[in-house]
């Protein structure tokens, strides 16, 4: 355990010295900031239109109806965040895990490290702790940015704040899967490019391909936070494809749960909320099992 903590600290320290990581982090933070503003700005425009219309009605002697947008959920202005997390967050997570898996190989210290009284289990635990901590720190930073920027634009209550932090906590689980995938791939694949390509292919499939198929070619399936509420699945063929692919469409399960947590789902979710949550956790645990197998089969004398 002591060794694992040493390895984790080393991993964290090394990651924050890496240019790629810092760059992705900066882009992510900037998008988080922008997300709140974009959300606020579109809401503000709508409000302005209502105010102008209400004013006109009053001048012509009519009574203006109350604003239909008044009870708009406070955190709706973070709607874009769940998209950014599946996009740039996924890449950031892959890059974090990949760097952790490649580190000893690239530095040429694999044999040296394992000639120390360090077990493979300790190595695995240390790397997991390091990766999990870094992602948690990124999510916390994001949550702080979202909190401050949202609070500056709308008034948040305690429940909103709890929802906001829960959203980032849930996003952490989702992203951890990608990080562990990058980590495992870097351990087992000889070719460094192939090792990076594999988690990227998974990311593309999960973020873009599966949602397209699962939403039965709903045009904005991959970018829309939630499934279409109207029933566009008229064709039986499309419905069959949807039924078959949807359970595995991890990013949609993530987005639906995230929308529920942020309280921006207009209606009840189309699918079971339990299924959404279970699938997201299963995804992360499956990637964790993959990491454990990757470390166990890792050849200490190869690099």
């Amino acid at each position: 355990m002591k060794n694992s903590v040493t390895i984790a600290r080393h991993e964290i320290q090394s990651l924050f010295r890496e240019r790629t990581f810092i760059l992705l982090l900066a882009v992510f933070a900037a998008m988080t900031l922008a997300s709140a503003y974009i959300g606020w700005s579109s809401q503000h425009t709508i409000d302005q239109v209502y105010i102008a219309a209400a004013e006109q009605m009053r001048q012509s002697g009519k009574v203006a109806p109350p604003s239909p947008f008044a009870d708009y959920p406070h955190l709706a202005l973070l709607k874009n965040m769940m998209i950014y997390i599946t996009l740039i967050g996924g890449l950031l997570a892959i890059s974090t895990g990949y760097a952790a898996g490649m580190r000893e190989r690239k530095a040429g210290v694999v044999k040296l490290l394992f000639s120390r009284p360090v077990g493979k289990e300790e190595f695995l635990l240390g790397k997991l702790l390091g990766i999990a901590f870094v992602l948690a720190a990124v999510m916390f930073l994001d949550a702080a940015i979202s909190l401050v920027s949202s609070a500056a634009l709308v008034s948040l209550n305690v429940q909103d704040i709890i929802r906001l932090f829960s959203f980032y906590g849930f996003s952490w689980v989702y992203l951890l899967g990608f990080a562990l995938l990058g980590f495992s791939s870097a351990l087992v694949k000889d070719d460094e490019v192939v090792a990076l390509l594999i988690p990227i292919i998974f990311w593309v499939a999960i973020t873009f391909v599966l949602p397209e198929l699962a939403s039965a070619l709903y045009p904005t399936g991959s970018l829309n936070p939630t499934l279409p509420q109207t029933d566009i699945l008229q064709s039986p063929t499309l419905q069959t494809i949807h039924g078959a692919v949807y359970p595995f469409s991890i990013s949609e399960h993530y987005k639906e749960t995230a929308a529920t947590i942020l309280n921006i789902n207009a209606d009840a979710p189309v699918h079971s909320g339990i299924l959404n949550i279970v699938t997201t956790f299963c995804w992360m645990l499956l990637c964790l099992a993959g990491s454990s197998i990757a470390v166990r089969s890792f050849d200490k004398t190869r690099w």
Binding site: H10, A107, L112, S115, R116, P117
Partner: protein, 247 residues
């Protein structure tokens, strides 16, 4: 175990496909020796050290290192050995001190600061403590590598081709360091090399490995006596090797 042998190898073999990289190796090294493990490229020296440092699982046979079984007591073995792989590398983006601190902690030293300075002093490398590893010369990296290997005062130090890539000055310096280390702390040194000259200059015992098999093992003094002088020893070494190659 006979306590006077700090390394006791018993019928140790490693097979890759149908090829024996190490073939039923039996070898004993007494505590305090500087053992030179000599052999042509591909003889199986690195494979042997990989197994003795518990990095590689043998196909059959076993060995005791510092009194512990390499198969069943790997962690205990690793606590008591230092290891310098061929062409040693450390984390390039970290300083020498940070690297040493990391490996010291993994070797079980919880507050290694003072010990690191002491070892760097011993190796005449104190001025390099805050230099990034990536900026150091091959010779200086080697010294930091040795610092890493001796920080935790191991009983046995394994070195794999430690002079490869060093200039003559670096080789001489390394030789001096190893002799001092052996003399002052009684550390047993197990050194792989394909250069006979290195062995004759500093080792107390030598073993010759050829195609995975040990073909000679004796003290340097006995070996020299048997073959009269260094050039005839070299002649014998080459003759044996050539004989093997033709077979």
């Amino acid at each position: 175990m006979n306590p006077q042998f700090i390394i006791d190898v018993r019928s140790l073999s490693k097979k890759y496909g149908d090829h024996f990289a190490v073939d039923s190796l039996n070898l004993k090294v007494a505590e305090g020796e500087i053992f030179g493990f000599l052999g042509h490229n591909g003889a199986g020296k690195t494979t042997t050290v990989n197994m003795l440092t518990t990095l590689l699982q043998p196909t059959s046979g076993s060995a005791l290192v510092a009194g512990f079984d390499i198969l069943r007591e790997g962690v205990e073995v690793r606590k008591r050995i230092g290891y310098l792989p061929e062409n040693v590398q450390l984390y390039d983006s970290m300083s020498a001190f940070e690297n040493l601190e990391y490996f010291a902690k993994l070797s079980g030293i919880s507050k290694p600061g003072e010990r690191i300075l002491q070892v760097l002093d011993f190796l005449d490398a104190a001025g390099y403590r805050d230099k990034k590893m990536g900026t150091l010369s091959k010779g200086m990296r080697q010294r930091i590598g040795i610092a890493q290997a001796i920080l935790h005062e191991p009983k046995v130090l394994f070195l794999d081709e430690p002079t490869s890539g060093l200039d003559p000055f670096g080789v001489k310096q390394l030789r001096g360091t190893l002799l001092r280390l052996n003399k002052e702390s009684g550390m047993t040194i197990f050194m792989n090399t394909h250069l006979l000259s290195e062995v004759t200059k500093m080792c107390s015992t030598i073993g010759v490995l050829s195609h995975g098999k040990l073909i000679h093992a004796d003290s340097l003094a006995n070996t020299m006596r048997r073959f009269n002088d260094e050039s005839s020893l070299e002649q014998v070494y080459l003759t044996i090797e050539e004989g093997r190659y033709e077979k």
